[in-house]
Symmetry: C2
Subunit: 227 residues, 2 copies
């Protein structure tokens, strides 16, 4: 859905991030879910460099996204996406069996797949060149590859983890997107799975919307830390 300034749903995102992080900030998951559900939203942009002090009252860790809809307020992209999914059968099956599987895969993405991927991102991105990262890398890669092999076996030759796309696939694809194929062995079926997710019109619209909201590098340089 196009963003609308009078939409009842407000998503808080960053006004600027370094180039390597663009397309990976976690409001992307929320925008994607809103697009899948066909829900309008407006964005509130805050500075990642100089976060408003009172923002910590809304989001205790200072992260984005934050979500507001009247009196309902959530943080944690995973929680927000589950909240949005409840609104639309296309993300969350209404039958108890399908619903249970969608929630299972959503939490598997957040708690069994993503932590290892973020650990690898620490090693390869944020702490690259540090001695601990060099020493740790082989085991960290082995652990993530082990999980990916199991996930690939569970996916098999299906397009999605269960009979059809759900919120579980949305979060799983988004977690897997933070892997670098040149840095570890990603099973082919998972590479194709991520590509299938990224080919969805709702994903593309969400990505375009995140990119469109960033102010230019020139603007952030002239504004300094107020960006």
């Amino acid at each position: 859905m196009p963003q609308k300034t009078d939409a009842p749903i407000e998503v808080t995102a960053f006004s600027w991030v370094p180039p390597f992080a663009r397309g990976h900030v976690r409001d992307l998951r929320v925008r994607w879910a809103l697009e899948e559900a066909g829900l309008d939203y407006r964005t509130r942009l805050i500075s990642a460099i100089d976060r408003p002090a009172d923002y910590y009252r809304e989001q205790p860790f200072g992260q984005v996204p934050h979500y507001r809809e009247g009196d309902v307020a959530l943080f944690e992209s995973g929680a927000i996406v589950l909240h949005i999914a409840e609104k639309d059968e296309r993300l969350m099956p209404r039958d108890p069996v399908g619903r249970a599987r969608a929630i299972t895969w959503a939490v598997a993405a957040l708690n069994s797949i993503e932590p290892g991927i973020m650990h690898l991102a620490d090693i390869d991105l944020f702490c690259a060149g540090q001695e601990w990262a060099r020493l740790r890398r082989p085991d960290a890669v082995r652990q993530v590859e082990g999980r990916l092999d199991r996930l690939a076996a569970a996916l098999g030759d299906k397009p999605w983890l269960e009979e059809r796309f759900t919120v579980g696939d949305l979060l799983m694809v988004e977690a897997l997107r933070n892997l670098s194929p040149d840095r570890l062995a990603i099973p082919d079926v998972l590479t194709a799975y991520v590509a299938r997710g990224e080919a969805r019109p709702a994903f593309k619209a969400a990505m375009a919307a995140q990119m469109a909201d960033f102010i230019s590098d020139d603007a952030v340089q002239s504004e300094g830390v107020s960006a």
Copy 2:
């Protein structure tokens, strides 16, 4: 609730784990939620040492717990606990505002608090003595302590994260229980918060039930890998 062999809810757990892991295996969260909701369950015990090959069809990563209730099957303790919470207003408020907050804190526990704690457990427990762990520890501690300070500020002087105990507290307390107070600075309000959670009758019953299900060390030694 006492375990009942004819209960419709089946929880899969390990028949034996090393002493240091007892009271920390993740079926504890599920047992705790079931006790809070007053729901009977039966356990299916499998070997942690020699997992049945076909178990990976139910739980792709070979972990416990697994949950079954008729045709409904879930894995991931966080997903199972959210599923149980839907059954009982004591765990999941029925009003939209309270519900959103409960889900927010549940996911915060799983995705913003627990990964750092498990990283510390890797450093202090599973990889103790390794050079990477020694080099990495100061920054890992600093990151967890930063998150704990923010969480403590959000909790403030309230007994629970929102107006009353919810599934969000259950998962947060359970994540925090894996911190070692002799290894980093835990804010006093969080120490008291964990103690409050552990003092709940439902927690105590869950802990006793997990402990009672382990076979003895003698039995595992005589049975070898079939334990």
